[in-house]
Protein backbone atom coordinates (compact mmCIF):
# COMPACT_ATOMS: atom_id res chain seq x y z
CA UNK A 1 0.00 0.00 0.00
CA UNK A 2 1.26 3.42 -0.87
CA UNK A 3 1.80 5.95 1.90
CA UNK A 4 -0.36 8.53 0.14
CA UNK A 5 -2.93 7.67 -2.50
CA UNK A 6 -4.59 10.32 -4.60
CA UNK A 7 -7.61 9.21 -6.60
CA UNK A 8 -9.34 11.18 -9.32
CA UNK A 9 -8.57 14.46 -7.56
CA UNK A 10 -10.21 17.53 -9.04
CA UNK A 11 -10.25 21.14 -7.95
CA UNK A 12 -12.22 23.89 -9.63
CA UNK A 13 -11.59 27.56 -9.05
CA UNK A 14 -14.71 29.08 -10.55
CA UNK A 15 -15.08 27.30 -13.88
CA UNK A 16 -11.39 26.56 -14.20
CA UNK A 17 -10.02 23.17 -13.25
CA UNK A 18 -6.70 23.74 -11.46
CA UNK A 19 -6.40 20.00 -10.92
CA UNK A 20 -8.32 17.65 -13.17
CA UNK A 21 -8.75 13.99 -12.33
CA UNK A 22 -5.25 13.34 -11.03
CA UNK A 23 -4.33 9.87 -9.79
CA UNK A 24 -1.03 9.26 -8.09
CA UNK A 25 0.66 7.20 -5.41
CA UNK A 26 3.48 8.18 -3.14
CA UNK A 27 5.43 5.24 -1.80
CA UNK A 28 7.05 4.90 1.58
CA UNK A 29 10.58 6.39 1.77
CA UNK A 30 10.76 7.70 -1.76
CA UNK A 31 11.64 11.14 -3.02
CA UNK A 32 9.04 12.05 -5.56
CA UNK A 33 9.47 15.06 -7.79
CA UNK A 34 6.36 16.92 -8.86
CA UNK A 35 7.16 19.03 -11.89
CA UNK A 36 5.37 20.95 -14.57
CA UNK A 37 5.17 24.44 -16.06
CA UNK A 38 3.91 27.38 -13.99
CA UNK A 39 0.22 27.11 -13.28
CA UNK A 40 0.19 23.34 -13.78
CA UNK A 41 -1.49 22.90 -10.40
CA UNK A 42 1.43 21.69 -8.28
CA UNK A 43 0.87 24.02 -5.34
CA UNK A 44 -2.89 23.44 -5.55
CA UNK A 45 -2.22 19.74 -5.21
CA UNK A 46 -0.10 20.40 -2.12
CA UNK A 47 -2.83 22.61 -0.71
CA UNK A 48 -5.37 19.84 -1.03
CA UNK A 49 -3.12 17.16 0.46
CA UNK A 50 -2.38 19.44 3.39
CA UNK A 51 -5.97 20.58 3.87
CA UNK A 52 -5.57 24.24 2.92
CA UNK A 53 -7.91 23.77 -0.05
CA UNK A 54 -10.86 21.42 -0.16
CA UNK A 55 -10.99 19.25 -3.29
CA UNK A 56 -14.02 19.61 -5.57
CA UNK A 57 -14.02 15.84 -5.91
CA UNK A 58 -11.74 12.88 -5.51
CA UNK A 59 -10.13 11.16 -2.57
CA UNK A 60 -6.86 11.43 -0.68
CA UNK A 61 -5.81 8.53 1.52
CA UNK A 62 -2.88 8.74 3.93
CA UNK A 63 -1.66 5.61 5.72
CA UNK A 64 -4.99 4.02 4.89
CA UNK A 65 -7.07 6.88 6.38
CA UNK A 66 -9.28 9.08 4.25
CA UNK A 67 -8.02 12.62 4.84
CA UNK A 68 -9.98 14.38 2.09
CA UNK A 69 -11.13 17.77 3.30
CA UNK A 70 -9.88 17.43 6.88
CA UNK A 71 -8.70 20.65 8.53
CA UNK A 72 -5.00 21.43 8.12
CA UNK A 73 -4.08 20.98 11.78
CA UNK A 74 -5.59 17.48 11.83
CA UNK A 75 -3.64 16.50 8.75
CA UNK A 76 -0.46 17.92 10.31
CA UNK A 77 -1.14 15.79 13.38
CA UNK A 78 -1.42 12.68 11.22
CA UNK A 79 2.08 13.32 9.93
CA UNK A 80 2.07 15.48 6.84
CA UNK A 81 4.41 18.46 7.01
CA UNK A 82 4.94 21.08 4.33
CA UNK A 83 6.88 24.15 3.34
CA UNK A 84 5.58 27.00 1.24
CA UNK A 85 6.53 28.46 -2.10
CA UNK A 86 6.86 31.91 -0.60
CA UNK A 87 9.18 31.87 2.40
CA UNK A 88 6.79 31.42 5.31
CA UNK A 89 8.24 31.87 8.78
CA UNK A 90 7.51 33.73 11.99
CA UNK A 91 9.74 36.54 10.76
CA UNK A 92 10.08 38.54 13.98
CA UNK A 93 10.94 35.54 16.13
CA UNK A 94 14.31 33.91 16.67
CA UNK A 95 15.30 30.80 14.76
CA UNK A 96 14.93 28.69 17.90
CA UNK A 97 11.50 30.16 18.74
CA UNK A 98 10.37 29.35 15.21
CA UNK A 99 11.30 25.70 15.59
CA UNK A 100 9.79 25.55 19.08
CA UNK A 101 6.49 26.80 17.69
CA UNK A 102 6.67 23.87 15.31
CA UNK A 103 6.98 21.61 18.35
CA UNK A 104 3.34 22.26 19.21
CA UNK A 105 2.34 18.65 18.48
CA UNK A 106 5.19 17.20 20.51
CA UNK A 107 4.06 18.72 23.79
CA UNK A 108 2.10 16.11 25.69
CA UNK A 109 1.46 17.77 29.07
CA UNK A 110 -1.99 19.27 29.53
CA UNK A 111 -2.56 22.96 28.96
CA UNK A 112 -3.48 23.69 32.57
CA UNK A 113 -0.14 22.27 33.62
CA UNK A 114 1.52 24.56 31.11
CA UNK A 115 -0.42 27.44 32.63
CA UNK A 116 0.70 26.53 36.15
CA UNK A 117 4.26 25.87 34.91
CA UNK A 118 4.44 22.55 36.78
CA UNK A 119 7.81 20.80 37.04
CA UNK A 120 6.73 18.16 34.49
CA UNK A 121 5.92 20.90 32.04
CA UNK A 122 9.17 22.74 32.59
CA UNK A 123 11.03 19.51 32.09
CA UNK A 124 9.19 18.96 28.82
CA UNK A 125 10.03 22.49 27.76
CA UNK A 126 13.73 21.85 28.32
CA UNK A 127 13.56 18.56 26.40
CA UNK A 128 11.89 20.30 23.50
CA UNK A 129 14.51 23.02 23.45
CA UNK A 130 17.22 20.37 23.23
CA UNK A 131 15.39 18.57 20.45
CA UNK A 132 14.88 21.83 18.58
CA UNK A 133 18.62 22.39 18.86
CA UNK A 134 19.19 18.93 17.40
CA UNK A 135 17.02 19.69 14.39
CA UNK A 136 18.92 22.92 13.81
CA UNK A 137 22.20 21.07 14.20
CA UNK A 138 21.11 18.48 11.65
CA UNK A 139 20.11 21.15 9.15
CA UNK A 140 23.21 23.24 9.82
CA UNK A 141 21.57 26.26 11.44
CA UNK A 142 22.75 25.64 15.01
CA UNK A 143 25.04 28.68 15.08
CA UNK A 144 22.15 30.96 14.05
CA UNK A 145 19.61 29.83 16.60
CA UNK A 146 19.36 33.19 18.37
CA UNK A 147 19.10 35.26 15.19
CA UNK A 148 15.81 36.85 14.21
CA UNK A 149 14.41 34.91 11.24
CA UNK A 150 13.98 38.08 9.20
CA UNK A 151 17.72 38.79 9.33
CA UNK A 152 18.78 35.41 7.93
CA UNK A 153 20.04 35.16 4.35
CA UNK A 154 17.39 33.86 1.98
CA UNK A 155 18.95 30.41 1.62
CA UNK A 156 18.96 29.92 5.35
CA UNK A 157 15.36 31.05 5.59
CA UNK A 158 14.38 28.32 3.14
CA UNK A 159 16.22 25.75 5.28
CA UNK A 160 14.54 27.10 8.42
CA UNK A 161 11.18 26.56 6.70
CA UNK A 162 12.11 22.88 6.38
CA UNK A 163 13.22 22.81 10.04
CA UNK A 164 9.77 24.07 11.04
CA UNK A 165 8.08 21.32 9.06
CA UNK A 166 10.45 18.75 10.56
CA UNK A 167 9.55 19.94 14.05
CA UNK A 168 6.09 18.40 13.60
CA UNK A 169 7.72 14.97 13.08
CA UNK A 170 6.19 14.34 9.67
CA UNK A 171 6.29 10.97 7.94
CA UNK A 172 5.47 12.74 4.67
CA UNK A 173 7.11 16.05 3.85
CA UNK A 174 5.88 18.28 1.05
CA UNK A 175 8.52 20.75 -0.12
CA UNK A 176 7.24 23.55 -2.36
CA UNK A 177 10.15 24.87 -4.41
CA UNK A 178 12.74 24.55 -1.64
CA UNK A 179 15.65 25.70 -3.83
CA UNK A 180 14.07 29.00 -4.91
CA UNK A 181 16.67 31.75 -4.90
CA UNK A 182 19.53 29.50 -3.79
CA UNK A 183 22.94 29.64 -5.39
CA UNK A 184 24.50 26.36 -6.66
CA UNK A 185 26.45 25.66 -3.50
CA UNK A 186 23.39 26.09 -1.29
CA UNK A 187 21.42 23.93 -3.68
CA UNK A 188 23.92 21.07 -3.43
CA UNK A 189 23.73 21.33 0.32
CA UNK A 190 19.93 21.20 0.12
CA UNK A 191 19.97 18.09 -2.08
CA UNK A 192 22.32 16.44 0.42
CA UNK A 193 20.04 17.39 3.34
CA UNK A 194 16.89 16.11 1.67
CA UNK A 195 18.60 12.81 0.91
CA UNK A 196 19.65 12.60 4.56
CA UNK A 197 16.06 13.19 5.64
CA UNK A 198 14.89 10.33 3.45
CA UNK A 199 17.52 8.08 5.04
CA UNK A 200 15.92 9.03 8.35
CA UNK A 201 12.69 7.49 7.07
CA UNK A 202 10.78 10.53 5.84
CA UNK A 203 8.95 10.31 2.53
CA UNK A 204 9.41 13.46 0.50
CA UNK A 205 7.50 15.11 -2.31
CA UNK A 206 9.27 18.04 -3.86
CA UNK A 207 8.01 20.65 -6.31
CA UNK A 208 10.98 22.26 -7.99
CA UNK A 209 11.75 24.13 -11.18
CA UNK A 210 15.46 23.65 -11.08
CA UNK A 211 15.81 20.60 -13.32
CA UNK A 212 19.33 19.66 -12.35
CA UNK A 213 18.39 19.51 -8.68
CA UNK A 214 15.25 17.51 -9.49
CA UNK A 215 17.14 14.99 -11.61
CA UNK A 216 19.80 14.56 -8.91
CA UNK A 217 17.36 14.23 -6.10
CA UNK A 218 14.27 12.32 -7.13
CA UNK A 219 13.63 8.61 -7.44
CA UNK A 220 10.52 9.18 -9.48
CA UNK A 221 8.86 12.12 -11.18
CA UNK A 222 5.24 13.04 -11.81
CA UNK A 223 4.62 15.69 -14.46
CA UNK A 224 1.56 17.91 -14.36
CA UNK A 225 0.36 20.20 -17.12
CA UNK A 226 -2.88 22.23 -17.02
CA UNK A 227 -4.02 20.26 -13.99
CA UNK A 228 -3.55 16.85 -15.59
CA UNK A 229 -0.93 14.23 -15.04
CA UNK A 230 0.89 13.84 -18.36
CA UNK A 231 3.76 11.57 -17.36
CA UNK A 232 5.18 9.52 -14.52
CA UNK A 233 8.42 7.59 -14.20
CA UNK A 234 12.10 7.63 -13.33
CA UNK A 235 14.02 10.80 -14.25
CA UNK A 236 15.70 9.24 -17.31
CA UNK A 237 12.35 8.33 -18.85
CA UNK A 238 10.84 11.71 -18.15
CA UNK A 239 13.80 13.48 -19.69
CA UNK A 240 13.06 11.73 -22.99
CA UNK A 241 9.27 11.90 -22.83
CA UNK A 242 7.96 13.77 -25.84
CA UNK A 243 4.85 15.13 -24.19
CA UNK A 244 6.88 16.52 -21.30
CA UNK A 245 9.31 18.25 -23.61
CA UNK A 246 6.37 19.77 -25.49
CA UNK A 247 4.75 20.96 -22.27
CA UNK A 248 7.91 22.75 -21.26
CA UNK A 249 9.00 24.07 -24.64
CA UNK A 250 5.65 24.42 -26.36
CA UNK A 251 4.65 22.92 -29.74
CA UNK A 252 4.93 24.52 -33.13
Amino acid sequence: MALLEIRNLTKYFGGLAAINGVDMNINESEILGLIGPNGAGKSTLFNMVNGTDRPSSGKITFKGHDITGLPTHRIAKMGIGRTFQATTLFMNETVLENVLTGFHLRYKTELWKAFLHTPACRHEDRTCRLQAGEILEFMGLQSLKNEIARNLPHGHQRILGICLALATRPSLLLLDEPATGMHPEEMNNLVRLIKKLREGGITIVVVEHHMQAVMNLCDRLVVLNFGKKIAEGVPEEIRKNKEVIEAYLGTD
Binding site: H73, A76, K77, M91, A114, L116, H117
Partner: protein
Protein backbone atom coordinates in the same frame (compact mmCIF):
# COMPACT_ATOMS: atom_id res chain seq x y z
CA UNK B 1 1.34 30.09 40.43
CA UNK B 2 3.40 31.30 43.35
CA UNK B 3 5.93 28.73 42.25
CA UNK B 4 6.02 30.31 38.84
CA UNK B 5 6.50 33.75 40.28
CA UNK B 6 9.33 32.57 42.50
CA UNK B 7 11.00 30.77 39.65
CA UNK B 8 10.72 33.57 37.18
CA UNK B 9 12.10 35.90 39.77
CA UNK B 10 15.04 33.63 40.47
CA UNK B 11 15.86 32.39 36.95
CA UNK B 12 14.40 34.16 34.01
CA UNK B 13 13.85 37.70 35.01
CA UNK B 14 16.86 39.96 35.20
CA UNK B 15 17.07 42.32 38.17
CA UNK B 16 16.86 45.21 35.74
CA UNK B 17 13.31 44.23 34.92
CA UNK B 18 12.32 43.34 38.44
CA UNK B 19 13.15 46.71 40.01
CA UNK B 20 10.68 48.81 37.99
CA UNK B 21 8.07 46.10 38.48
CA UNK B 22 8.38 46.07 42.25
CA UNK B 23 8.56 49.85 42.48
CA UNK B 24 5.38 50.13 40.41
CA UNK B 25 3.66 47.75 42.80
CA UNK B 26 4.91 49.59 45.88
CA UNK B 27 3.82 52.91 44.38
CA UNK B 28 0.37 51.50 43.68
CA UNK B 29 0.09 50.31 47.26
CA UNK B 30 1.39 53.50 48.91
CA UNK B 31 -0.10 56.20 46.68
CA UNK B 32 -3.65 56.13 48.12
CA UNK B 33 -2.21 56.35 51.64
CA UNK B 34 -0.59 59.67 50.69
CA UNK B 35 -3.43 61.10 48.61
CA UNK B 36 -6.41 60.18 50.70
CA UNK B 37 -8.78 62.39 48.76
CA UNK B 38 -11.66 60.07 47.77
CA UNK B 39 -11.78 61.68 44.35
CA UNK B 40 -8.20 60.60 43.60
CA UNK B 41 -8.88 57.14 44.94
CA UNK B 42 -11.92 56.90 42.72
CA UNK B 43 -9.73 57.66 39.71
CA UNK B 44 -7.29 55.01 40.89
CA UNK B 45 -10.08 52.46 41.05
CA UNK B 46 -11.24 53.32 37.53
CA UNK B 47 -7.67 52.97 36.23
CA UNK B 48 -7.59 49.44 37.60
CA UNK B 49 -10.95 48.48 36.11
CA UNK B 50 -9.96 49.89 32.73
CA UNK B 51 -6.59 48.13 32.84
CA UNK B 52 -8.21 44.75 33.55
CA UNK B 53 -10.61 45.23 30.65
CA UNK B 54 -7.83 46.35 28.31
CA UNK B 55 -5.69 43.37 29.32
CA UNK B 56 -8.48 41.03 28.33
CA UNK B 57 -8.77 42.78 25.00
CA UNK B 58 -5.02 42.56 24.43
CA UNK B 59 -5.13 38.84 25.16
CA UNK B 60 -7.60 38.35 22.35
CA UNK B 61 -5.52 40.67 20.20
CA UNK B 62 -2.48 38.48 20.85
CA UNK B 63 -4.24 35.79 18.80
CA UNK B 64 -4.92 38.29 16.01
CA UNK B 65 -8.61 38.89 16.76
CA UNK B 66 -9.93 42.43 17.15
CA UNK B 67 -12.97 42.84 19.38
CA UNK B 68 -15.03 45.99 19.66
CA UNK B 69 -17.44 44.51 22.14
CA UNK B 70 -15.44 43.83 25.28
CA UNK B 71 -17.77 45.99 27.36
CA UNK B 72 -20.46 43.36 26.78
CA UNK B 73 -18.80 40.86 29.13
CA UNK B 74 -18.14 43.64 31.59
CA UNK B 75 -21.89 44.30 31.54
CA UNK B 76 -22.63 40.60 31.97
CA UNK B 77 -20.42 40.51 35.07
CA UNK B 78 -21.92 43.68 36.52
CA UNK B 79 -25.54 42.68 35.98
CA UNK B 80 -25.04 39.04 36.98
CA UNK B 81 -23.40 40.04 40.23
CA UNK B 82 -25.95 42.75 41.02
CA UNK B 83 -28.92 40.48 40.42
CA UNK B 84 -27.37 37.57 42.30
CA UNK B 85 -26.80 39.75 45.34
CA UNK B 86 -29.98 41.87 45.21
CA UNK B 87 -32.51 39.31 44.01
CA UNK B 88 -31.08 36.06 45.30
CA UNK B 89 -29.30 37.33 48.38
CA UNK B 90 -26.00 35.79 47.44
CA UNK B 91 -22.83 36.75 49.30
CA UNK B 92 -20.84 39.30 47.26
CA UNK B 93 -17.70 37.20 47.21
CA UNK B 94 -19.56 34.23 45.84
CA UNK B 95 -21.36 36.47 43.36
CA UNK B 96 -17.99 37.83 42.22
CA UNK B 97 -16.81 34.33 41.35
CA UNK B 98 -20.11 33.29 39.81
CA UNK B 99 -20.32 36.39 37.62
CA UNK B 100 -16.81 35.71 36.32
CA UNK B 101 -17.99 32.20 35.56
CA UNK B 102 -21.20 33.36 33.85
CA UNK B 103 -19.26 35.85 31.69
CA UNK B 104 -16.92 33.00 30.77
CA UNK B 105 -19.79 30.69 29.81
CA UNK B 106 -21.42 33.37 27.67
CA UNK B 107 -18.02 34.10 26.13
CA UNK B 108 -17.66 30.41 25.36
CA UNK B 109 -21.05 30.24 23.66
CA UNK B 110 -20.57 33.43 21.66
CA UNK B 111 -16.92 32.73 20.84
CA UNK B 112 -17.64 29.18 19.69
CA UNK B 113 -19.87 30.60 16.98
CA UNK B 114 -18.17 33.81 15.94
CA UNK B 115 -14.50 32.81 15.96
CA UNK B 116 -15.20 30.70 12.87
CA UNK B 117 -16.08 33.87 10.96
CA UNK B 118 -13.57 35.86 8.95
CA UNK B 119 -11.62 38.44 10.94
CA UNK B 120 -13.59 41.43 9.68
CA UNK B 121 -16.91 39.69 10.28
CA UNK B 122 -15.71 38.72 13.75
CA UNK B 123 -15.01 42.34 14.70
CA UNK B 124 -18.32 43.44 13.24
CA UNK B 125 -20.30 40.80 15.12
CA UNK B 126 -18.61 41.69 18.42
CA UNK B 127 -19.96 45.23 17.96
CA UNK B 128 -23.44 43.91 17.30
CA UNK B 129 -23.35 41.62 20.33
CA UNK B 130 -22.21 44.54 22.47
CA UNK B 131 -25.17 46.59 21.27
CA UNK B 132 -27.59 43.70 21.77
CA UNK B 133 -26.51 43.26 25.37
CA UNK B 134 -27.02 46.96 26.07
CA UNK B 135 -30.47 46.76 24.48
CA UNK B 136 -31.45 43.66 26.41
CA UNK B 137 -30.57 45.10 29.80
CA UNK B 138 -32.16 48.39 28.83
CA UNK B 139 -35.45 47.02 27.50
CA UNK B 140 -36.08 44.18 29.91
CA UNK B 141 -37.50 45.33 33.25
CA UNK B 142 -35.93 42.42 35.08
CA UNK B 143 -32.53 43.98 34.37
CA UNK B 144 -33.60 47.37 35.65
CA UNK B 145 -34.40 49.04 32.33
CA UNK B 146 -32.74 52.18 30.93
CA UNK B 147 -32.73 53.77 34.35
CA UNK B 148 -30.38 51.09 35.57
CA UNK B 149 -30.10 49.67 39.06
CA UNK B 150 -29.25 51.84 42.03
CA UNK B 151 -28.14 51.28 45.64
CA UNK B 152 -26.26 48.09 44.90
CA UNK B 153 -24.99 46.76 48.24
CA UNK B 154 -21.34 47.04 49.13
CA UNK B 155 -19.20 43.90 49.41
CA UNK B 156 -19.78 41.80 52.52
CA UNK B 157 -17.20 42.49 55.24
CA UNK B 158 -14.22 40.17 55.51
CA UNK B 159 -13.57 39.09 59.09
CA UNK B 160 -9.88 38.93 59.96
CA UNK B 161 -8.27 37.54 63.10
CA UNK B 162 -7.94 39.81 66.20
CA UNK B 163 -11.46 41.18 65.67
CA UNK B 164 -10.41 43.32 62.72
CA UNK B 165 -12.79 43.44 59.79
CA UNK B 166 -12.48 44.93 56.34
CA UNK B 167 -15.96 46.35 56.02
CA UNK B 168 -15.78 48.47 52.85
CA UNK B 169 -16.97 51.64 54.46
CA UNK B 170 -13.95 53.57 53.19
CA UNK B 171 -13.10 54.12 49.57
CA UNK B 172 -9.59 52.85 50.11
CA UNK B 173 -10.77 49.27 50.80
CA UNK B 174 -12.25 49.22 47.30
CA UNK B 175 -8.97 50.46 45.93
CA UNK B 176 -7.10 47.55 47.46
CA UNK B 177 -9.70 45.08 46.25
CA UNK B 178 -9.18 46.51 42.77
CA UNK B 179 -5.43 46.15 43.20
CA UNK B 180 -5.90 42.53 44.20
CA UNK B 181 -8.03 41.78 41.12
CA UNK B 182 -5.58 43.63 38.91
CA UNK B 183 -2.65 41.65 40.29
CA UNK B 184 -4.59 38.44 39.76
CA UNK B 185 -5.24 39.42 36.14
CA UNK B 186 -1.58 40.31 35.65
CA UNK B 187 -0.40 37.06 37.19
CA UNK B 188 -2.76 34.91 35.11
CA UNK B 189 -1.82 36.80 31.94
CA UNK B 190 1.86 36.51 32.73
CA UNK B 191 1.62 32.77 33.33
CA UNK B 192 -0.24 32.32 30.05
CA UNK B 193 2.08 34.43 27.91
CA UNK B 194 5.15 32.77 29.40
CA UNK B 195 3.85 29.29 28.69
CA UNK B 196 3.54 27.55 25.35
CA UNK B 197 -0.04 28.83 25.21
CA UNK B 198 1.28 32.35 24.70
CA UNK B 199 3.67 31.12 22.03
CA UNK B 200 0.82 29.39 20.24
CA UNK B 201 -1.35 32.54 20.37
CA UNK B 202 1.47 34.50 18.83
CA UNK B 203 1.90 31.92 16.09
CA UNK B 204 -1.79 32.18 15.19
CA UNK B 205 -1.54 35.95 15.05
CA UNK B 206 1.67 36.10 13.03
CA UNK B 207 0.78 33.50 10.44
CA UNK B 208 -2.44 31.54 10.65
CA UNK B 209 -1.70 29.31 7.67
CA UNK B 210 1.74 28.35 8.95
CA UNK B 211 0.38 27.76 12.45
CA UNK B 212 -2.27 25.37 11.13
CA UNK B 213 0.36 23.59 9.05
CA UNK B 214 2.32 23.05 12.25
CA UNK B 215 -0.67 21.26 13.78
CA UNK B 216 -2.10 24.15 15.80
CA UNK B 217 -5.87 24.13 16.19
CA UNK B 218 -6.18 27.89 15.89
CA UNK B 219 -9.91 27.83 16.58
CA UNK B 220 -9.54 26.24 20.02
CA UNK B 221 -6.68 28.49 21.04
CA UNK B 222 -8.49 31.64 19.96
CA UNK B 223 -11.57 30.43 21.85
CA UNK B 224 -9.45 29.96 24.98
CA UNK B 225 -8.27 33.57 24.75
CA UNK B 226 -11.84 34.74 24.14
CA UNK B 227 -13.16 32.94 27.21
CA UNK B 228 -10.35 34.11 29.50
CA UNK B 229 -10.81 37.70 28.43
CA UNK B 230 -14.55 37.37 29.07
CA UNK B 231 -13.82 36.06 32.59
CA UNK B 232 -11.52 39.03 33.28
CA UNK B 233 -14.25 41.40 32.12
CA UNK B 234 -16.88 39.57 34.18
CA UNK B 235 -14.86 39.90 37.38
CA UNK B 236 -14.19 43.57 36.63
CA UNK B 237 -17.92 44.04 36.05
CA UNK B 238 -18.91 42.54 39.38
CA UNK B 239 -16.34 44.68 41.17
CA UNK B 240 -17.49 47.78 39.30
CA UNK B 241 -21.16 47.31 40.18
CA UNK B 242 -20.57 46.92 43.90
CA UNK B 243 -18.00 49.71 44.00
CA UNK B 244 -19.98 52.40 42.19
CA UNK B 245 -23.33 51.13 43.50
CA UNK B 246 -25.13 52.16 40.30
CA UNK B 247 -25.18 50.49 36.91
CA UNK B 248 -27.00 51.59 33.80
CA UNK B 249 -26.97 50.18 30.27
CA UNK B 250 -25.30 53.28 28.81
CA UNK B 251 -22.17 52.67 30.89
CA UNK B 252 -21.53 49.43 29.04
CA UNK B 253 -22.30 50.65 25.53
CA UNK B 254 -20.34 50.68 22.31
CA UNK B 255 -18.31 53.76 23.30
CA UNK B 256 -17.01 51.93 26.32
CA UNK B 257 -15.69 49.16 24.07
CA UNK B 258 -14.01 51.74 21.88
CA UNK B 259 -12.33 53.27 24.92
CA UNK B 260 -11.09 49.86 26.08
CA UNK B 261 -9.56 49.36 22.64
CA UNK B 262 -7.98 52.79 22.86
CA UNK B 263 -6.34 52.12 26.26
CA UNK B 264 -4.62 49.12 24.71
CA UNK B 265 -3.52 50.93 21.56
CA UNK B 266 -2.19 53.95 23.43
CA UNK B 267 0.07 51.86 25.65
CA UNK B 268 1.08 49.56 22.83
CA UNK B 269 -0.59 46.29 21.90
CA UNK B 270 2.70 44.39 21.81
CA UNK B 271 3.15 45.13 25.50
CA UNK B 272 0.64 42.65 26.80
CA UNK B 273 0.66 43.70 30.43
CA UNK B 274 2.35 47.09 30.74
CA UNK B 275 0.59 48.47 27.63
CA UNK B 276 -2.96 48.30 29.00
CA UNK B 277 -1.80 49.67 32.37
CA UNK B 278 0.00 52.68 30.91
CA UNK B 279 -2.83 53.31 28.45
CA UNK B 280 -5.54 53.25 31.07
CA UNK B 281 -3.57 55.42 33.50
CA UNK B 282 -3.15 58.13 30.87
CA UNK B 283 -6.63 57.98 29.42
CA UNK B 284 -8.33 57.82 32.79
CA UNK B 285 -6.40 60.73 34.25
CA UNK B 286 -6.37 62.90 31.13
CA UNK B 287 -10.15 63.38 30.84
CA UNK B 288 -10.25 64.26 34.54
CA UNK B 289 -7.67 67.00 33.96
CA UNK B 290 -9.88 68.50 31.29
CA UNK B 291 -12.98 68.21 33.40
CA UNK B 292 -13.45 71.97 33.33
CA UNK B 293 -13.86 71.83 29.60
CA UNK B 294 -16.07 68.82 29.43
CA UNK B 295 -17.36 69.51 25.94
CA UNK B 296 -13.95 69.59 24.31
CA UNK B 297 -12.42 66.81 26.39
CA UNK B 298 -13.17 64.02 23.86
CA UNK B 299 -11.70 66.19 21.10
CA UNK B 300 -8.45 66.71 22.97
CA UNK B 301 -8.27 63.03 23.83
CA UNK B 302 -8.93 62.10 20.21
CA UNK B 303 -6.21 64.42 18.92
CA UNK B 304 -3.66 63.00 21.33
CA UNK B 305 -4.67 59.52 20.27
CA UNK B 306 -4.37 60.34 16.57
CA UNK B 307 -0.90 61.72 17.10
CA UNK B 308 0.15 58.54 18.87
CA UNK B 309 -1.36 56.21 16.28
CA UNK B 310 0.21 58.04 13.37
CA UNK B 311 3.66 58.71 14.77
CA UNK B 312 4.04 55.86 17.25
CA UNK B 313 2.00 52.97 15.88
CA UNK B 314 3.59 50.65 18.43
CA UNK B 315 2.12 52.70 21.27
CA UNK B 316 3.77 54.90 23.89
CA UNK B 317 5.83 52.04 25.29
CA UNK B 318 7.52 51.50 21.94
CA UNK B 319 9.15 54.94 22.21
CA UNK B 320 12.47 53.69 23.70
CA UNK B 321 12.70 51.06 20.95
CA UNK B 322 12.01 53.63 18.25
CA UNK B 323 14.69 55.93 19.62
CA UNK B 324 17.18 53.08 19.88
CA UNK B 325 16.48 52.02 16.29
CA UNK B 326 16.92 55.53 15.00
CA UNK B 327 20.35 55.77 16.64
CA UNK B 328 21.50 52.51 15.13
CA UNK B 329 20.57 53.45 11.60
CA UNK B 330 22.78 54.89 8.90
CA UNK B 331 23.27 58.61 8.36
CA UNK B 332 21.03 58.74 5.32
CA UNK B 333 18.03 57.31 7.11
CA UNK B 334 18.69 59.58 10.04
CA UNK B 335 17.57 62.53 7.95
CA UNK B 336 14.07 61.52 8.93
CA UNK B 337 13.22 62.25 12.54
CA UNK B 338 12.72 59.07 14.52
CA UNK B 339 9.06 59.66 15.11
CA UNK B 340 8.26 59.92 11.45
CA UNK B 341 9.59 56.50 10.64
CA UNK B 342 7.49 53.42 10.80
CA UNK B 343 7.99 51.46 13.92
CA UNK B 344 9.47 48.08 13.16
CA UNK B 345 8.15 46.09 16.06
CA UNK B 346 4.55 46.93 15.53
CA UNK B 347 4.31 46.07 11.86
CA UNK B 348 4.99 42.42 11.30
CA UNK B 349 5.48 41.62 7.68
CA UNK B 350 4.64 37.99 7.97
Amino acid sequence: MVLLLKRSISNNMPVKKLVPLLSALVTAVILPLIFQNPYYIQIGIMIGVNAILAMGLVMLLSTGLVTLGSAAYWAVGAYASTLLVMKMGLNFWLALLVSGFIAGIIGLGVGAVIIRLSKVAFTFVTIIIGIIITLVVGRVDFFGGWGGIVSIPKPDPIPLPFSITIDFTKRISYYYLMLFLLLLTILVSFALYKSRIGRTWKAIKLNLQLAETLGINSYLYALLAFVISAVFAGLAGSFYAHTFKTIEPETFGFWRSIYIQVYAILGGVDFYISGPIVGSIILTVLPELFRMAKEIEPIITAIILLIIVIFLPGGLLSLPEVIRNSRGLGAKENLLPALFRRNKISRSKN
